[in-house]
Subunit: 150 residues, 2 copies
Amino acid sequence: MKFDLSKTTRHTRTNSFGWMFQRIAGQFMVEMKKQLAPFDLTIEQFAALMTVMEHDGVTQRQIGEHISMPAYAISRALDHLEKIGFVERVAHPTSRRAVHVVVTPRAKDIAPQIFGVVDRVNDELIGILDDGQTDTLRLLLQSLLRAPKP
Amino acid sequence: MKFDLSKTTRHTRTNSFGWMFQRIAGQFMVEMKKQLAPFDLTIEQFAALMTVMEHDGVTQRQIGEHISMPAYAISRALDHLEKIGFVERVAHPTSRRAVHVVVTPRAKDIAPQIFGVVDRVNDELIGILDDGQTDTLRLLLQSLLRAPKP
DNA sequence: TTCATTAAGTTGCAAATGCAACAATAGCAA
DNA sequence: TTGCTATTGTTGCATTTGCAACTTAATGAA
């Protein structure tokens, strides 16, 4: 029995959940990027902004933990968000080195629009599934996200 | 009824399939990157190599189509793969501008090891699901990947 | 044939990214 | 108190990335 490189490769590729996840996540990113551009936001900046909206007054480190981004990236994302007036870095109540990040009224004003972006892109992404399939998929993805680290 | 920014944001985030896909794909990428490093391969270079293994003699443009990568990225990935001796750019049989990309014996030798990497990382990724769940997930992901472009 | 157009692949350069060093502060033990 | 270590955040610099311009070759019209 000879080893068939092409077939084996094909088998490996088509059975790889990693590839599939990467492809699907890629579609999502491309669409989000496109629709966020008019707001002068990258996906990373947007993720940071969402975190601040959900937890007003977080520190930068907490933002980083929440969305799994390194500290230097948070630092730069906030530089931009501050420049376009969506967040402010104010004095932290108890620490002089930590930073208290808060959303501005301007950010609250556009919040519904950017939630609209997320909803629209998600609908595009999973729109072909029916309600039952959508629920099943949600449960499966959630259990993968709770997978324990080895 | 007042608009609660924190709650609305939380709702948007926890119901976003995009975030979930991005997180899961991210885990996969981090692991793959780590395990491919000893082979001196990035994920992009690895993807290109897999394509050449599956379709020996493809052109660069075909590789790009297959894995959704821009031409310049293929060009650079192959520069590296050629330098480390995993592929060769040979004359194309019918075109003088297109390139025929073929795998080297050296690449065939290590193929089983890099397939092992993919298998191992995938097992880590979806190992917590049982067989039935795995099949269900595969079907759902495959239908998402066949989703028609609007 | 000649000329214009499209296709395949490469590369220069500016912007984005990531590492590692850095400054400033906090916490804590002696 | 002093001195040591850990935490929080920023930044300099080298690598990586992506756009757009470029070269070369194929196609096709006049």
